[in-house]
């Protein structure tokens, strides 16, 4: 049962509150945390709100984009400078949830949720983290794999906006709107002289956390980005995936359709 809601106005104070109280949890949008507080037996007794920490906002300079951790998903989905991310945001939950849920919080959504984290993995984003000892930066792959320390606070993400034609995304769902991932595919693929020069492919829904697909990436590199290459590369995806069964799909089904959705994402089928 909650005993206290803190509203710190600087990061040091917030980190201190988290450090000194093992029953404290950081509250951003609340779309993942508050259901547990409302409905479950939880050890959480106090909440530390990000509201007054000044972590909201989107800055784009040249090809670099920086998004504050407490920025609402709806604000990313409405920013014309980040149009390539709009399909990702639209694929997540519903408008009221997107009006609360934050970019930082999405990094900690368990699969088959957390589609923005899958996109950030494909973008090879850098995550800014504040702790009592100051700021550090970490690759998003590290954050989605092992989280942050209990006393740390994610303050933002930074990434290069992909060049025209190099961004690919698809999310297979049970319904067209407001459903979790059966398979999510996000990729940044560049082509030079008719051959794939770089490829980062990230998957959601087929592992307990967002996963990179190095086998698929390796099979794309150096080849023309055509149907035959992509179809062959997509067959390797299962080597990188750890599909699971849940209410949305079985592990068998996810494994079966994974290559299909990689083809659809990259070839626009």
């Amino acid at each position: 049962m909650l005993q206290r809601v803190h509203m710190p106005s600087d990061l040091g104070e917030a980190a201190g509150l988290l450090a000194n109280d093992p029953t404290a949890a950081l509250l951003a949008g609340g779309t993942l945390l508050m259901p547990a507080v409302n409905n479950e037996v939880t050890p959480i007794q106090s909440l530390v709100s990000t509201k007054r920490l000044g972590l909201e906002g989107i800055a784009v300079e040249g090809d670099r984009a920086r998004i504050g951790a407490a920025t609402r998903l709806a604000d990313v989905g409405a920013d014309p400078r980040l149009a390539f991310l709009h399909p990702v945001i639209e694929a997540i939950a519903s408008p009221p949830i997107r009006n609360l849920a934050t970019v930082g919080g999405n990094l900690f959504a368990w699969q088959p949720y957390g589609d923005l984290a899958v996109a950030l993995l494909a973008l090879d984003a850098t995550v800014m983290v504040a702790g009592q000892q100051g700021q550090r930066e970490a690759p998003v792959a590290e954050i989605v794999a092992s989280g942050v320390a209990a006393r740390e606070i994610v303050t933002g993400v930074e990434f290069a906006v992909p060049t025209e034609g190099s961004w690919f995304f698809t999310k297979a769902m049970r319904r067209k709107l407001n459903s979790a991932a059966i398979v999510t595919v996000a990729a940044v693929i560049t082509v030079e002289s008719d051959a794939v020069a770089s490829a980062r492919v990230a998957l959601g829904g087929v592992g307990r956390r967002p996963l990179r697909a190095p086998s698929v990436e390796a099979a794309l590199l150096g080849k023309p980005l055509d149907a035959a290459t992509v179809a062959a590369a997509a067959e390797h995806a299962i080597d990188d995936a750890e599909p699971f069964s849940d209410a949305y799909a079985s592990a068998w089904y996810r494994a079966r359709v994974l290559p299909v959705h990689i083809r659809r994402a990259i070839l626009g089928e």
Binding site: M1, L2, Q3, R4, V5, M7, L27, G29, G30, T31, M34, P35, V37, N38, N39, S46, L47, S49, K51, A74, E90, A93, S94, P95, P96, I97, N99, L100, L177, N178
Partner: protein, 164 residues
């Protein structure tokens, strides 16, 4: 476990009350302010029947500790009608038989109100997207989508008439 004095503007009126730690906006509306239109459905942000508008955005009130939004402007279903005169959306819901048991209706109307504030002439697809977080187990949604489109047309007609 000290309570906090919370001030909000609710449907244009100042409201002030004492909230225990962790009181959600939903519980504050229902229990402190006696505004019972917003319902407690799932209490996890999935069903949409607690949706209200906070500072212009439709949000599930069950997920917001009220102490974190001190000073906010909150709009609920109770604020839509002008005395006995229903809002265009409410009138369209009544005449279009868009409510059955009525449990989802407050959230449906707040999602629809937020949609029309942003987009007075929505397409059917826009309406479906706007209510994609509002679960209705009675109607099959078609009557609700029709009513929101009708309500939008009524609101446009009313604002054109007012402009003349």
């Amino acid at each position: 476990m000290a309570s906090t004095i919370v001030q909000l503007t609710v449907n244009g009126q100042d409201a002030e009350f004492l909230a225990k730690p962790g009181t959600t906006l939903l519980m504050a509306l229902r229990e402190n302010l006696g505004l019972t239109a917003a319902k407690r459905g799932c209490a996890q942000g999935t069903c949409g029947t607690c949706d209200v508008i906070v500072d212009g955005r439709v949000v599930p009130s069950c997920l917001i500790p009220v102490e974190t939004i001190v000073g906010a402007a909150v709009e609920t279903l109770e604020g839509l009608a002008d005395g006995n005169a229903l809002s265009p959306l409410q009138a369209a819901f009544v005449e279009g038989f868009a409510t059955q048991c009525g449990f989802c209706t407050p959230g449906m109307l707040m999602s629809a109100t937020a949609l029309l504030a942003e987009n007075p002439a929505p397409t059917r697809g826009d309406v479906v997207r706007a209510i994609s977080g509002n679960v209705c187990r009675c109607t099959g949604y078609e009557a609700i989508v029709d009513a929101i489109l009708d309500g939008a047309a009524r609101a446009r007609a009313a604002s054109t008439a007012a402009a003349d």
